[in-house]
Symmetry: C2
Subunit: 95 residues, 2 copies
């Protein structure tokens, strides 16, 4: 599934609720989901870890929806098949 398509699905499912919650509240949820992912990474429950990855990309898409940002376009603008710092593929940064 395309990044844009996933973002559109989140829009269809949650935009009304996301808008009501607003940018601050939705960012706070994203932070919580990232923290939950961090906790799962310490354990061995693969299925639970996968669900947390899903939640992080889902809340990121929700946040982008409220902001009116195209996540796919933003991702490809910064990462156009090469490293934005060294301009190489694969990355050849020396730091």
């Amino acid at each position: 599934m395309e990044i844009r398509e996933f973002q559109d699905m989140m829009k269809h499912l949650y935009l009304k609720r996301d808008r009501e919650r607003g940018v601050g509240g939705t960012f706070s949820w994203l932070m919580d989901e990232v923290a939950e992912l961090g906790e799962e990474l310490k354990g061995n429950d693969r299925e639970a870890t996968e669900k947390e990855f899903a939640d992080v990309i889902a809340w990121l898409a929700s946040l982008a929806n409220i902001m009116g940002i195209d996540l796919e376009k933003a991702a490809l603008n910064k990462y156009p098949h090469k490293c934005p710092k060294c301009q190489s593929s694969p990355c050849a940064c020396t730091f």
Copy 2:
């Protein structure tokens, strides 16, 4: 671009470096990027905000690569075109 394709691009660009950094270090970078996104959301620099969205999905993909997790599959397993809680589309959760 498909979520999987974006994850594969990140793999091509950064997997060696990501593996050397490891799960803990890469998660820490992801946290930093989310915090930077939060700072940009307070301002009015749209281009900078878009770049931070790009960085968050990029580091999430890097982390998934180290873990051997298919981000697209994980996302669609949890969000199969309906809300995982109420099973409706759009979401009809009452909480």
